[in-house]
């Protein structure tokens, strides 16, 4: 199970989440829109990382950008052998603008790993991931995990234009089948995706779907999952303060046993059951 350690039966929980100042090894553009940040992380931290989990980053100040709260970022990659932790981010506002200025040797305070990652059940052999933009950062380590467990993965990567596609080589390198769709080519709309997925299901079959926070994709996969009885998981985002589950600011509504419940994205998530997720 790819979840965080539960409190120990013996009573007091043991520390399993780390707040550390880490050295930046690299911080470089991946394409015109995304940056990859690589930091050096200690073994005990990397040992606890799981695909789908995230870190809470204390972004430095940079000029008039003075981010105060931490910023959540998915684990893009974690490499215990190399001792590195990777993030893939898009410059959005004050926090990510400040991240952009980090140079090798600078230090970055991170808190993590946090949250519950992806679950790959024993009998899920053929996985399909469908993601776009920053979502590819969140889903990338799933490919690593699938590879490790010897499962087959089809990665459907969506983008506005072909030159903005990301992680394609990464997925291929890990043995995944990659299908690219773009707005520019007119292949990324729901109708096209639906027929594409129907093709995969009718072909070798699909045991589970994985996706990231887009209402459009969620609705599509919920419909197809119900139609074919295919389970799935979705990684969601929400504003966060503590990142640990203490403040209850990061809730989203979910359908559970007929009722609507508020769950914390940082704690019960960021990965949730796809059918329980609600459009927003």
């Amino acid at each position: 199970m790819l979840t965080q350690n539960p409190p120990m039966a013996s009573g007091r929980p043991q520390p399993t989440v780390f707040e550390r100042d880490l050295a930046v090894r690299a911080n470089q553009p991946v394409n015109g829109e995304y940056m990859r940040l690589v930091v050096e992380a200690p073994p005990e931290m990397l040992a606890r990382c799981r695909a789908g989990q995230f870190f809470h980053l204390l972004c430095p100040s940079a000029g008039t950008d003075q981010p105060y709260l931490r910023r959540p970022m998915s684990i893009y990659g974690f490499y215990p052998q190399e001792g590195t932790l990777h993030f893939l981010y898009k410059v959005a506002g004050a926090g990510t603008r400040a991240l952009f200025h980090l140079a090798p040797g600078d230090r970055l305070n991170v808190l993590g790993p946090l949250g519950r990652g992806f679950h790959i059940a024993e009998d899920w052999q053929r996985l399909v991931l469908l993601a776009r933009g920053v979502g590819l950062a969140t889903l990338a380590p799933l490919a690593l995990e699938a590879h490790r467990l010897g499962r087959h993965l089809t990665a459907i990567c969506s983008a506005r234009r072909p030159d903005l596609l990301m992680s394609v080589d990464y997925f291929r390198h890990l043995g995944a089948d990659v299908i690219t769709v773009t707005d520019a080519e007119g292949t990324s709309d729901v109708a096209h995706l639906e027929s594409l997925l129907e093709g995969l299901i009718a072909g070798a079959g699909v045991d589970a779907f994985y996706t990231c926070g887009s209402n459009r994709l969620l609705a599509l996969l919920q419909r197809m999952g119900k139609r074919h009885g295919i389970p799935g998981q979705i990684a969601l985002e929400q504003q966060m303060a503590c990142g640990l589950g203490m403040c209850h600011c990061c809730v989203r509504p979910f359908r559970k046993d007929g009722a609507t419940v508020q769950l914390r994205v940082c704690r019960e998530g960021p990965v949730f059951d796809m059918q329980e997720a609600m459009p927003w």
Binding site: Q4, N5, P7, G11, R12, P13, Q14, P15, T16, V17, F18, E19, L58, Q66, P67, Y68, L69, R70, N109, L111, Q238, Q239, M240, A241, C242, G243, L244, G245, M246, C247, H248, C249, C250, V251, R252, Q262, R267
Partner: protein
């Protein structure tokens, strides 16, 4: 060896640093051993289930934050069953924060949480009193006194009254809380504030308004802690923007006996750990034997707080 222990109305804390309600929970034990804290203070609970406010529930404002979490609560039964037992594994005293919409509901909850394993009850009287005009109990001395009387009768545990900064009558409210039976004052809760996203023209909080916490609140909370310490004879627990050992020393000098750390824990989850260690080092360096020797040592030249308040009001 310096002595960090303090006494809050008969309850001895091994050090004066504890979390602020709503910014702490069992989950912090996954970051460090929370046994080191002066006390454990739970998120405010209500008797019944509450969903809390619409999202977004937090936003940042110039180096501080606003929140409108809105006291989501699983209700008292779930709390007694799941939360209280968790803390029984610790020696650190457990302080339970409660709230109610009416004085009677509040008092009933107060009785219900007066169970073994609970060392003190923090009564969050900064919440709205729906029997009056929806203003928080602690905005006025009269409503403060009335709710405290009922709470006092509901429990034998020490009662810590948590005050609001949303008032022009802090000393009067503090005295009313003392007269109503409070054993200590927690000063203070968040200050009502607002932020708007000028691009979307929507409030940055789903609930329109929320409470300001973090560094911006510090000079206001410090003033209130000073006023409360002067106005009453019960211990004051300072709270608002505390992030460093120097901040703690400032509150103690102003008259606080202990402090609570809130928002700083979101920024640095180990903030309290660092503060306790730095506080010890500070006392050693300054040759101060006990942290209690700092309490209320502000050199205020015997000015009467009343006069000062008048002249300061611009």
């Amino acid at each position: 060896m310096v002595d960090l222990s303090v006494d809050i109305a008969g309850l001895t804390l091994k050090n004066p640093v504890m979390p602020a309600s709503g910014t702490f929970s069992e989950e912090l034990a996954e970051v460090f051993d929370i046994e080191c804290l002066g006390a454990h203070v739970t998120k405010t609970i209500t008797r019944g289930f509450r969903d809390g406010n619409p999202t977004p529930r937090v936003c940042e404002v110039g180096g501080s934050m606003l929140n409108s979490i809105g006291i989501p609560s699983k209700g008292v039964a779930a709390f007694l069953e799941k939360v209280v037992p968790f803390y029984r594994d610790y020696e650190t005293p457990l302080v339970v924060s409660i709230s109610g919409n009416t004085a009677d509901e509040f008092a009933a909850l107060c009785a219900e949480v007066s169970v073994e394993g609970v060392a003190a009850i923090e009564v969050n009287i900064s919440c709205p009193n729906i029997e009056e005009d929806g203003k928080a109990f602690a905005i006025r001395p009269s409503s403060t006194y009335e709710v405290m009387r009922k709470l006092r009768r509901a429990t034998r545990l020490p009662l810590w009254a948590k005050l609001t900064p949303n008032t022009g009558e802090t000393p009067e409210v503090a005295r009313a809380a003392e007269e109503g039976g409070a054993d200590a004052l927690v000063v203070a809760n968040t200050l009502l504030a607002m932020a708007i996203d000028i691009r979307t023209r929507r409030p940055k909080l789903g609930n329109l308004m929320g409470g300001l916490s973090g560094p911006s609140l510090k000079p206001i909370a410090l003033r209130m802690a000073y006023q409360c310490a002067k106005a009453t004879g019960i211990p004051v627990i300072g709270c608002g923007g505390i992030a460093t050992a120097e901040d703690v020393v400032e509150f103690l000098i102003a008259g606080a006996t202990a402090v609570q750390v809130g928002t700083a824990t979101f920024i640095n989850p180990t903030a309290m750990l660092t503060i306790i260690a730095d506080l010890e080092r500070y006392l050693e360096r300054e040759g101060i034997a006990s942290v209690r020797d700092l309490i209320g040592t502000v050199i205020d030249g015997e000015q009467k707080a009343g006069v000062v308040f008048m002249e300061a009001a611009p």
